[in-house]
């Protein structure tokens, strides 16, 4: 009897301890801008602290977006150059999402260590699934084929092509879009957002990309110098050997 009970003790302990401890969220995506176009509140998230030269992935969270309304985002440079950000609906493939892949499924209330930007994201996460559903429901009138394409190919349709329905109803759940923008120069740019005719703009700081030039110079000189030294010494050795 005792020999049967003993092996069960570790398993029982595991089950007791297995009452899952909650996970805290990670850093998330930094907020670049928050603005309001018409009745739609929009937050733009970047993949870095600031928009930088080169390719940026911008994520747009739109709350109160009229159903079927087109959403367009342009970046306008200090010299007037316009970069169109081709936004596409962000596809949620598994479980509750936060647009940056963080898992909030088991999140506790302990957000003390998070920045305020992330907390504002969280309010949207809880209802994200429903937001996605409402997005899909907008496609129903297009028939199953369109919906299937959207689901299987990462929403290959353009966000601007989604205008259908005469009486747009606003969705309180946030809807997510994502697009890549290649920004050529640093300086103060403008983010211009257009939702169903309503426009909003906000300033964006664009900084240079990449590591510190000092760091690159330091490591480059040491590595390059050592390789050159090695090459010279090897050459000398081989010349001495031949002589």
């Amino acid at each position: 009897m005792r020999s049967r009970i003993l092996p069960a003790i570790p398993a029982a302990l595991l089950l007791i301890l297995g009452a899952a401890a909650p996970a805290l969220a990670g850093g998330g995506l930094p907020v670049l801008s928050s603005m309001k176009a018409g009745n739609t509140e929009v937050t733009i998230y970047g993949d870095s602290m600031f928009v930088h030269t080169g390719t940026n992935t911008l994520t747009v969270e739109a709350t109160g977006l009229p159903e079927g309304a087109a959403i367009a985002l342009n970046l306008i440079g200090p010299d007037g150059k316009t970069v169109v950000v081709p936004l596409r609906p962000l596809r949620v493939v598994a479980g509750p999402a936060d647009a940056h892949g963080g898992d909030h499924e088991n999140e506790s209330d302990g957000h003390e260590s998070e920045d305020s930007g992330h907390e504002s994201e969280d309010s949207g996460h809880e209802s994200e699934d429903s937001g996605h559903e409402s997005e899909d429901s907008g496609h129903e009138s297009d028939g199953d084929a369109h919906e299937t394409e959207s689901t299987q190919h990462g929403s290959s349709h353009d966000a601007q092509a989604d205008q259908h329905g005469d009486e747009p109803a606003e969705s309180e759940s946030p809807v997510w879009f994502r697009g890549k923008a290649s920004v050529p120069t640093t300086g103060t740019w403008k983010a211009q957002l257009e939702i169903g005719g309503a426009k909003a703009t906000d300033e964006l700081k664009v900084v240079g990309n990449g590591p510190s030039p000092l760091y690159l110079a330091f490591t480059g000189v040491i590595m390059g110098g050592t390789i050159t030294y090695g090459a010279i010494q090897r050459r000398r050795q081989s010349q001495t050997g031949r002589a």
Binding site: P10, L13, L14, L15, L17, G18, A20, A21, P22, A23, L24, A25, G26, G27, G28, L29, P30, D47, S48, H52, G54, T57, R88, L90, R91, V92, V93, A94, G95, A97, A99, H100, G101, G102, D103, H104, E105, N106, S108, G110, E112, S113, G154, S155, W176, R178, G179, N209, G210, P211, Y215, T219, I222, M223, T226, I227, Y229, G230, A231, R234
Partner: protein, 455 residues
């Protein structure tokens, strides 16, 4: 005195040679091994460096960060347990050394101070990097991670060109030091057959045979008694003309039971890792902020000073507790504190490894899908979702099971170490048992706390 006691003889090895499989032996002897792994790894590493230094600054959006800290770092201790230091054989740094040495290497002998103090340098670098990770931000910052890898690459290039073989891997790489320690408890070991080696005149396992280089990290399989410095590159399997090399399966931690010449610095590293795991866990827990706030309030509001204080306490506690146990245990055996510490410090390795794996189960299994989302983004597929692969409950069961095995492994190892000393008997064991139970309990408690994501 210690020298007068008679340690129990090491039991004869049972043969469980994986090289009895002609398929495996053929693969390890072929020129494709380990090249089939090294060059793809080097390519991925090149991309990771690029992504970390020039890619998105947000960790959650950077594929380099996901690949490094969500995939590679959690898998590394699992590899070490199952395949010893095999990672070191395919490590991009090692491949870089090999490539550079072909064209620019000067092949100078390793300086004596590196041979003598290499492990201490590894200890110090490990502590500094852990400290810097929290003060300067390495893991959560792609640029920070990139800077660290770039600095290591600089060290690799310099030592690779100046000195012979893989001096960096053997004497300076902190990951090599960690791998060396963990590999002692792995389930495979590469060894030579002494009876065959006794008749050998070529020693090509160390020197190379003209076609294949000798051991890249200065091991002589004939006398090798530890897996700490064997990276399973299979050079010795290729070069040995007598078929002396064996690749045996063994019970986990077995090597730790019979260490012939324990070294204080190696044991010290094992105990340092307890502190590092402690720091890594504590800083990801929900009570970390209040602790930091308290220390900041008494340390003039400086975050760096507050973290440094907590860091020193967390690193010093395991060393202090272990030192006390060694002093007490040494009173039963007649050993000095240092000798006892050196002998029993190895027992902690199993718990280190288990704690490392258990901690990273969280990152791998709760954040694993971020790799997929970020990789999909590279190809224009904008998708997102929960990053969790399994539920938090499943992760915790795995964590506690792993920790349980680690605690058992450490206690059993300490018992076996104590049992070798027939004169002192098990009296020397009890202080270390208490310490291991404390370490185990602290780890178990830490894993019940909420944890923060890396990405």
């Amino acid at each position: 005195m210690v020298a007068q006691r008679n340690p129990a003889p090491v039991p004869p090895q049972e043969s469980n040679n994986l090289l009895d499989s002609p398929w495996l032996k053929g693969f390890l002897k072929s020129r494709w091994f380990p090249a089939i792994f090294t060059y793809p790894t080097l390519l991925v590493f090149g991309y990771i460096i690029y992504a970390l230094l020039w890619g998105p600054e947000a960790a959650s959006a950077n594929l380099g960060t996901s690949l490094t800290w969500v995939l590679w770092w959690p898998l590394i201790p699992v590899f070490m347990f199952t395949m010893g230091r095999f990672w070191c054989a395919i490590c991009p740094f090692a491949t870089t050394i090999d490539l550079l040495q072909k064209f620019f290497g000067l092949g100078r002998p390793v300086p004596a101070f590196l041979k003598k103090y290499g492990i201490w340098i590894i200890d110090a670098v490990f502590i500094i990097i852990t400290w810097a990770d929290h003060v300067l931000g390495i893991v959560e910052s792609p640029r920070g991670s990139g800077y660290l890898l770039g600095l290591m690459l600089t060290g690799v290039v310099v030592t690779g060109i100046l000195y012979e073989r893989r001096s960096w891997c053997r004497y300076l790489c902190f990951l090599g030091g960690l791998s060396g320690n963990y590999s002692r408890s792995s389930i495979v070991e590469l060894r030579a057959t002494p009876e065959i080696c006794a008749t050998c005149t070529t020693q090509s396992c160390y020197k190379g045979d003209g076609k294949t280089a000798g051991c890249p990290i200065f091991e002589f399989p004939r006398t090798m008694q530890t897996s700490a410095n064997c990276n399973l590159c299979a050079n010795c399997i290729k070069t040995c003309p007598n078929g002396s090399i064996r690749l045996d399966m063994r019970p986990p931690t077995k090597e730790l039971w019979f260490i012939a010449r324990p070294k204080f610095e190696e044991s010290f590293l094992a105990v340092v890792i307890v502190g590092i795991v402690l720091v890594q866990n504590i800083t990801m827990l929900s009570f970390w902020q209040p602790v930091m706030e308290f220390f900041m309030s008494v340390l003039f509001g400086s975050k760096t000073a507050a973290f440094t204080a907590v860091f020193l306490i967390a690193m010093g506690l395991p060393i202090g507790v272990m030192s006390a146990a060694s002093w007490l245990s040494g009173r039963f055996t007649g050993e000095t504190f240092a000798k006892n510490f050196a002998r029993f410090g190895y027992a902690v390795i199993a718990l280190d490894l288990a704690g490392h794996i258990a901690h990273n189960f969280f990152h791998l299994l709760a954040e694993g899908k971020s790799i997929f989302y970020n990789a999909a983004g590279l190809f224009g597929y904008q998708i997102t979702g929960s990053a969790a692969i399994v539920s938090m409950q499943t992760i915790q069961i795995l964590q506690f099971a792993t920790l349980g095995l680690g605690i058992f492994g450490s206690i059993f190892t300490a018992y076996k170490i104590a049992a070798r000393d027939q004169q002192a008997g098990l009296k020397a064991f009890w202080p270390h048992l208490i310490v291991l139970l404390i370490f185990g309990a602290v780890n178990l408690w830490l894993f019940t706390m909420p944890m923060e994501h890396r990405v």
